[in-house]
């Protein structure tokens, strides 16, 4: 099935699967081929005409995205003929371009800029007036459309047709009047992917636009903790904060895409209201407090830990190690199911990012991870106890969490370990203690398939050295 063939690309031998896409084969082998409309996750359109190649024995250049690999093909895309073809094609793409790079969010990662530097660098020969189209269009779901910047590669229309099957986008009118149009505002839950696949600045994210220049950002490659799918993502950040989440191609889990819910998982990490230091509740207002006072308070008291499902395997292991030999009871708070179990693309209703890892760690340490176990611990809490609650990193259903908080009110000392913002419902706690967020720790989580997914640490905006095992040690003080 996967028969390999050898072909020659610009005089270099490359190997590819027989019948596979020629453009993809070249890209996989590190060859440079300019392209706009081709996307590995979408059907072939062949409309941008940028990926032209020449083949020995074929009289005319042809687009490589629409060709398949065969044994002994001799392909070139560095001949003068091809260079001229690409240059002329690019000139047409830029014919009506508004050249608003200084105010365009795509600047720095724009296909038009990149290829202009490589294949362009001519003076415009356009003497007619440029065709003007509507610029700032809010087409829903945090996506903004600028029709003037569009080169009509049709990636977005193919995405709504083939991936989400919602068909909101189309190309209306003809010739230089042709433009991307929404039939009705976007309604799919994967709309932010449109911003990713747009090779130019026509579709930009309302959440990200005008926040940061992309060349001031660094990427952290990590895993989304928004649900049990565990998509591969990269988070763009710099010392001022985190700014956006984009999917990373991962064949086994998420392919090319991710859902819109996952796009906002970064927000609490560098939020101005993120908890930075141990804080004490002074009549509903949290003020920085000395940690030693908390230690004094909890010393000698029975500890009840309610862990969340968004911690890493390593954190669970370290935590159970830290409380070894104590009488502390531990339970697991699982987030309620949100929406359908599986929406058919990526998103799952089970929002517990590392439920499987947590269950395994609980079992290994001899604790009950079921909801019955949670109830048992909650019922057994007495007034003299200390209740620690690890706040779930992404809370979809705050009401459900509040009912949990109601049940710990019996305990005289209530402490929250939170990787995020201070919520209004946290007033039930006496103390808030910071723990690292998912972007500030290395570790693994186990997704719904049982696959180990890697979390990587980026820049830190909060407390990163004191994870839950640090606080766990207090039970043995």
């Amino acid at each position: 099935m996967t028969e390999k063939v050898k072909l020659t690309w610009n005089g270099k031998q490359i190997e590819a699967v027989k019948g596979s896409n020629l453009l993809q084969a070249a890209l996989d082998n590190g060859q440079e081929v300019a392209h706009y409309c081709y996307h590995a996750g979408l059907s072939i359109a062949g409309v941008c005409r940028m990926c032209m190649v020449e083949q020995d024995g074929v009289p005319r250049p042809f687009p490589s995205c629409n060709a398949t690999c065969g044994e002994g093909m001799v392909i070139r895309n560095d001949t003068p003929k091809i260079k001229a073809a690409v240059e002329n094609t690019l000139q047409f793409h830029l014919l009506n371009h508004p050249l608003d790079c200084p105010v365009c969010d795509q600047a720095g990662e724009c296909g038009l800029q990149d290829y202009y530097m490589k294949h362009g660098q001519y003076d415009s020969q356009m003497i007619d007036k440029k065709v003007h189209k509507e610029k700032v269009q809010d087409i829903g779901k945090n996506v903004m459309l600028d029709a003037e910047r569009c080169i009509l590669c049709s990636r977005c229309t193919r995405f709504t047709e083939e991936v989400t099957k919602t068909n909101e986008l189309g190309i209306l009118n003809r010739g230089d009047h042709a433009e991307i149009t929404v039939n009705e505002n976007l309604k799919n839950d994967y709309a932010q992917n449109l911003v990713d696949i747009c090779p130019v600045g026509a579709l930009t994210s309302k959440d990200f636009r005008f926040k940061q220049r992309v060349w001031f950002l660094e990427e952290v490659y990590t895993t989304c903790i928004g649900c049990e799918t565990g998509c591969s993502v990269k988070v763009s950040q710099n010392k001022n904060g985190s700014y956006r989440v984009k999917p990373v191609f991962d064949e086994t889990v998420n392919g090319h895409w991710m859902c819109d819910d996952g796009r906002s998982i970064y927000k609490h990490v560098s939020s101005p209201t993120r908890l930075q230091v141990a804080s004490e509740n002074m009549n509903g207002l949290f003020v920085p407090a000395d940690e030693s006072r908390v230690v004094e308070l909890v010393t000698g008291k029975k500890a009840n830990f309610i862990l969340s499902t968004s911690l890493t395997n390593e954190e669970y292991a370290r935590f159970f190690e830290s409380i070894k030999g104590s009488k502390a009871s531990v339970a697991l708070y699982t987030l309620p199911t949100q929406g359908p179990e599986f929406d058919g693309i990526l998103r799952r209703g089970d929002k517990n990012a590392n439920l499987r890892g947590a269950q395994k760690a609980f079992e290994a340490a001899g604790f009950d991870h079921t909801s019955a176990g949670l109830d048992k611990v909650l019922n057994a809490i007495s007034a003299s106890d200390v209740a620690y609650v690890v706040v779930p990193e992404i809370l979809y259903n705050e009401d459900h969490f509040n009912t949990l908080l109601k049940k710990i009110e019996k305990a005289s000392t209530r402490i929250a370990l939170t990787p995020g913002e201070t919520l209004s419902s946290m007033k039930v706690f006496n103390y808030l203690l910071p723990v690292p967020s998912f972007l500030e720790k290395e570790g693994h989580i186990v997704n719904f398939q049982g696959t180990q997914r890697q979390l990587n640490a980026g820049l830190s905006y909060g407390e990163t050295t004191k994870d839950i095992s640090y606080y766990g040690k207090w039970v043995n003080v």
């Binding site: 068909n167 009047h177 039939n183």
Partner: protein
């Protein structure tokens, strides 16, 4: 391609349905092609035969009937000049302004007709009788300057001829 404002839809204020005869014709159209999509062009013409133009209701009706997303139908309508998504007059008049007809005065005829009937591109006359549309090549250079009145070719014509012919229309 009757309107250049893609976000604007025009309603006819009542639901649309094919007549029984047209529904039978539609079924016959389906037998002509391998897939349903291919029948879209004749089906849209059939709608225009019935009610002259393509209101939003008709687009929705065809979308459900043929199981084609609305946006795909709108793409087709906006691509072709002879599909109208705005209301038009009872009689459709196409005036050729391509090269041969222009050399013989086609543009002047079009401008003269607009002035005579006090109307604009596609806008129906006040009595709703006529819509005028200038066309690229009608493929009848030997009749230059020519025009198409509903389904009949007329030419060569001069402005006076053209006005007379149009005034006779019901």
């Amino acid at each position: 391609m009757s309107s250049h404002s893609p976000n604007q839809t025009h309603s006819m204020g009542a639901p649309f349905k094919f007549t029984d005869a047209n529904l039978a014709t539609y079924q016959e159209y389906l037998t002509r092609y391998d897939d349903v999509e291919s029948a879209l062009l004749p089906v849209l013409h059939l709608v225009q035969e019935q009610i002259k133009w393509l209101p939003q209701e008709a687009i929705e009706y065809v979308s459900v009937l043929m199981n084609i997303p609305e946006i795909k139908i709108k793409e087709v309508i906006s691509f072709y000049d002879m599909f109208y998504d705005v209301p038009v007059g009872r009689n459709m008049v196409h005036v050729c302004t391509n090269i041969t007809c222009s050399m013989f005065g086609g543009r002047e005829i079009y401008a003269g007709l607009l002035k005579h009937f006090d109307t604009d591109y596609l806008t129906p006359t006040r009595d709703g009788r006529i819509s005028l549309q200038k066309m690229e090549c009608l493929g009848a250079c030997e009749m230059a300057p020519c025009m198409r009145i509903n389904n009949d070719y007329v030419g060569p014509v001069d402005l006076a001829d053209a006005i007379n012919k149009l005034e006779e229309l019901p």
